[in-house]
C-alpha cells in the first residue's frame, strides 16, 4: 500500500521535478524559507536605519537612501515576509491537520509561490538598480504619483503589490476549498483545529481585502504610466481616495498577519499544557468576529486627515470593539494555562512571550483608537512602537514558537532546545528594549520616517539605546536562524509526535511521506490523537494508482465523492513567468498586458488540458471501516 501510494504521489527527482513540484509540504517549506530570507533582508534594512538614527545629524545614510530603506523595509516585512510566511505555514500545515493528502488545487499553490518569488525579486532587483521605491510602504499620493515620484521607483512598488496579492489570493482560494471540502470524514466544522479556523477566516479576509489594494495600486500605476486622474484633485480625482482604498486593504492586512499567529497559539498550547484549549466555541466566534470587524476600522489611520468628527467617532468605537474578541481569546488561553502542568519548552516560551509583548501593543492600540490621543501620536515613533509590538508580539513570536514546534514535523529533526531558549530570551529582551523607548520618543515629538534629527532635540539617548538593543534582538533572531541551519543536518531525530500533541499532523511520520497519511483517518473529536482509541477508523476504497482523494461535505465532513488531484506540472511556473513578463513589461508600456494575455492563452490551455485517463469503476465504494 505504502509503496503504491509513494509511487503515485512522489514527484520524481532532478531539477525538472523540483520545478514541477506541487506537494503542499514542499511548497509550504519554500514559502517559509523564502519569507525568512526576506525577513533577514528587512532586518538588515532596519539595522541600517537604526544605525543612522543612533545619533543626531548622522551622515551615514543620506535622505534618499534612507527613504528607500524604510520603504523597502516596510514593504518587505508586510508584503514579502508577514503574509507569505503565513501562506507558507497554512500551505504546509492545513492539509496535515485536516487529514488530507494535498491542497485542493496543487498547481495553484505552486503558482502562488512562483508569483510571490517574482514579486519579491522585482522589489530587490529594483532596489539594486537604485529604482527601489522611496515613498513609503503606504505610498500616499500625491507623493507617490507621477508629479513627485519620478522614474520607475513607485511603479516597481505597485507591481510588487500586484504579484504578492495575486499570490495571496491564490493561496486563499486554495485554503478555503481545501478546508471546506477535503477534511477527513468525521471532522465536522466544529471539530476542526482552531488553527484551521484561523486560516479559514484569514483566507476569506484575503479574498475581500486584497482586491482593494490591487485596484488602488493599479489606479496608481495608470496615473503614472498612462495619465489617468484617479488621484488628481484638479481633474476630479481625490488624494483621500488613495488613503481610503489603501487602508481598507491594509488594516485587514494586519489582521491577516495576526490571526494565524493567534491560531498557532491555539495549536501549540495543548501539547504544553496537556489540556485542550478551553472555550473552543468562544475562540472560533472571536476569530470570525475579528475577521469581520477588521474591515470596519480603517479610518483610524486617517484621523489627522480632517474627516468629519462624527465619522471619526464611529471608527473609534469600532477600533475599541475589536479588542473584545481578541481579549476573549486571550482569556480563553489564560484559562487553559491557569495552573496547568506546563512544560516550558521553547514553543511555550514564545507563547508566553506573546502574552507579555502583544498585550502592550494591544493596549497602545486602544490608546490610538481615541482620536484625541491619535492626533498627538499619529505618524510618530509611538505608532512605530505600537505596530511592532502587535506584529512582532502578536505574529512573529507565535510564528517563532511555531517554527520550534513544527520544525520536527517538517524535517524529521528537533531544533536545539538550549539554543531555542537562549534565542527566546534575547529576542524578548532585545525586542522590548528596542521598541519600548520609541513610545517616549513619539510623545517627545519625534516623527516617523525621518532620516535624521537635530542635536538639541533630546532624542539622542533613547535612540542610541534602541539601536544598541536592536543588536540584541538581531542576535536573538540570528540564533534561531543558525539553529535551523545546523539542526537541519545534525539535529536530534524526531519521531512522529515528539510533543505528544493532539492534532492529526502528529499522526504521520516526521517528515511526512509524499502521500501524508497511509490511510486517510476518520475523526470523532476535537483532539483526535488524545481522545480516540488507537484503532481509529480509516477511509477505504480510494485508488492508489491515481491521486484520488475523498471529498467530504462542508459542515459534517461526511464522505461525498472522490476526485483526482493534479500532479506535478510545469504550467504553474510557466504561468508565473507569463504573469511576471506581463506585469513587469506593463511598468514600461501598456502593451505588456496584451502580450501577457497572448502568451497566457497557450499556458492556460496547457494547464487545463484534460488528462484523459478513464477512471475504472471500483468494486468497492469509498467508505470507512475500523482499521
Amino acid at each position: 500500500m505504502n509503496d503504491a501510494l509513494a509511487a503515485t504521489w512522489s514527484p520524481g527527482r532532478g531539477l525538472s521535478a523540483w520545478l514541477r513540484e506541487v506537494r503542499h509540504t514542499e511548497i509550504g517549506k519554500r514559502f517559509v524559507v523564502t519569507a525568512f530570507l526576506f525577513f533577514a533582508a528587512g532586518g538588515i534594512e532596519a539595522a541600517l536605519m537604526r544605525l543612522q538614527l543612533s545619533r543626531p545629524a548622522n551622515a551615514m545614510v543620506g535622505p534618499d537612501l534612507y527613504n528607500r530603506l524604510f520603504t523597502t523595509h516596510g514593504s518587505t516585512m508586510m508584503f514579502l515576509f508577514a503574509v507569505p510566511v503565513m501562506q507558507g505555514v497554512g500551505t504546509f500545515i492545513v492539509p496535515l491537520m485536516i487529514g488530507a493528502r494535498n491542497l485542493a488545487f496543487p498547481r495553484l499553490s505552486a503558482y502562488s509561490y512562483y508569483v510571490y518569488l517574482v514579486g519579491g525579486l522585482l522589489l530587490y532587483v529594483g532596489f539594486s538598480f537604485r529604482a527601489g521605491p522611496d515613498a513609503g510602504w503606504f505610498a500616499y499620493t500625491p507623493l507617490s504619483g507621477p508629479a513627485f515620484s519620478p522614474g520607475k521607483r513607485m511603479d516597481v512598488w505597485a507591481q510588487m503589490i500586484t504579484f504578492t496579492e495575486l499570490s495571496a489570493l491564490a493561496t486563499a482560494v486554495n485554503l478555503v476549498v481545501t478546508i471546506f471540502k477535503l477534511r477527513a470524514p468525521g471532522m465536522s466544522i466544529t471539530r476542526m483545529p482552531l488553527l484551521v479556523w484561523a486560516f479559514l477566516v484569514v483566507a476569506f479576509m484575503i479574498i475581500f481585502a486584497m482586491p482593494a489594494v490591487v485596484v488602488a495600486s493599479s489606479c496608481l500605476a495608470l496615473d503614472r504610466l498612462v495619465g489617468t486622474h484617479f488621484f488628481n484633485h484638479a481633474e476630479g480625482g481625490d488624494h483621500l481616495l488613495w488613503q481610503h482604498m489603501f487602508w481598507f486593504f491594509a488594516h485587514p492586512e494586519v489582521y491577516i498577519i495576526f490571526l494565524p499567529g493567534l491560531g498557532m497559539i491555539s495549536a501549540i498550547l495543548p501539547a504544553f499544557t496537556r489540556r485542550r484549549v478551553l472555550g473552543y466555541d468562544v475562540v472560533v466566534l472571536a476569530t470570525v468576529t475579528t475577521g469581520f470587524v477588521a474591515f470596519g476600522v480603517w479610518v483610524h489611520h486617517m484621523f489627522a486627515a480632517g474627516l468629519p468628527q462624527l465619522g471619526d467617532s464611529y471608527f473609534t468605537a469600532s477600533s475599541l470593539i475589536i479588542t473584545i474578541p481578541t481579549g476573549l481569546q486571550l482569556f480563553c488561553w489564560l484559562a487553559t494555562l491557569w495552573r496547568a502542568p506546563l512544560r516550558f519548552a521553547t514553543p511555550l516560551l514564545f507563547v508566553l512571550g506573546f502574552f507579555v509583548t502583544f498585550v502592550v501593543g494591544g493596549l497602545t492600540g486602544v490608546m490610538l483608537a481615541a482620536v484625541p490621543i491619535d492626533l498627538q501620536v499619529h505618524d510618530t515613533m509611538f505608532v512605530v512602537a505600537h505596530l511592532h509590538y502587535v506584529l512582532i508580539g502578536g505574529a512573529v513570536f507565535p510564528l517563532l514558537g511555531g517554527v520550534y514546534y513544527w520544525f520536527p514535523k517538517a524535517t524529521g529533526r528537533l531544533l536545539n532546545e538550549r539554543a531555542g531558549k537562549l534565542s527566546f530570551w534575547l529576542t524578548l529582551l532585545g525586542f522590548n528594549a528596542t521598541f519600548f523607548p520609541l513610545h517616549m520618543l513619539g510623545l517627545h515629538g519625534m516623527p516617523r520616517r525621518v532620516y535624521t534629527y537635530l542635536p538639541g532635540s533630546g532624542w539622542h539617548h533613547l535612540n542610541l539605546f534602541a539601536t544598541v538593543a536592536s543588536g540584541v534582538l538581531a542576535l536573538g533572531v540570528l540564533i534561531t536562524f543558525l539553529n535551523v541551519i545546523v539542526s537541519h543536518r545534525r539535529g536530534q531525530r524526531a519521531e512522529a509526535n515528539p510533543w505528544q500533541a493532539d492534532s492529526l499532523e502528529w499522526a504521520v511520520p516526521s517528515p511526512p511521506p509524499p502521500y501524508n497519511f497511509a490511510d486517510i483517518p476518520t475523526v470523532s473529536s476535537r483532539a483526535p490523537l488524545w481522545e480516540e482509541p488507537s484503532a481509529r477508523g480509516v477511509v477505504t476504497g480510494l485508488a492508489t494508482d491515481q491521486r484520488e482523494v475523498v471529498v467530504t461535505t462542508l459542515l459534517d465532513a461526511a464522505p461525498d465523492h472522490r476526485t483526482i488531484l493534479a500532479g506535478p506540472s510545469i504550467w504553474p511556473l510557466a504561468a508565473a513567468a507569463v504573469t511576471g513578463v506581463g506585469f513587469i513589461v506593463s511598468m514600461f508600456t501598456p502593451w505588456g498586458l496584451p502580450v501577457a494575455v497572448a502568451l497566457g492563452v497557450p499556458v492556460m490551455v496547457g494547464w487545463f488540458w484534460p488528462k484523459g485517463r478513464p477512471t475504472p469503476l471500483h468494486a468497492e465504494q469509498p467508505g470507512t471501516k475500523a482499521a
Partner: protein, 181 residues
Amino acid sequence: MRHRLAAVLVAALGASAGCKHETHDVRPAQELSQSPGGVVLSTLFAGGVPSAIAGTLKDSQQNAYAMNEGKRLFDAYNCTGCHAHGGGAIGPALMDAKWIYGSSPENVYQTIVEGRPNGMPSFRGKIPDFQVAQLVAYVRSMPGLAGGFWAPGRNDAMQVKPGENTVSAQAPVRAPGAPPP
C-alpha cells in the same frame, strides 16, 4: 537555488550598470561654464582636433529625477509665461518637433543661457548650470526626444497636455523661417 543565484548576479550587474535613470543626484558634478564659449555647438573642429569642451549635458538627458526637476523649474522659473505648457503663447511652442535653433542639448543650453533674438531672455548667471541641464532635459522630453520610459508623467494640475512619458519621439525638423544651420 538557481533563482537566488540569478537574482544575485542580476543585482550585482544592476548595481554597476543602468541605474543612471533613477539616481537622485542633488549636486551633479557638471563643469559646464556659462562664460561665452563654455559649451560648443558644432561637432566640426578646425584641424580635426576637438577643443577642450567644458562638461557634458548627457548625464541628465536620461535621468528621471533630472527631468522631473526640469519640469518643476519650467513652471517655477516662469517659462510657462511665454511658452505655456509647451503649446506656446508669445513664445514658440516647445512640444512640437519644429526647432528654430536646433534640438541638440548644447543648442537648447545655449538658448537658455544666451537668450535668442525676439524675446528669449538670457538666463546667464541667473539659473545654475545643473538646473539649466535639467531644463534642457525636460524641454527635449516634451516632443519625445529625451527620456523615453523615464520622461515625466502628468502633473497634478488641470491637464492641458498629456504627460511627457506618453509622447512618441518625433524627428526634429527646422521650423519654417528659422535661420539656416
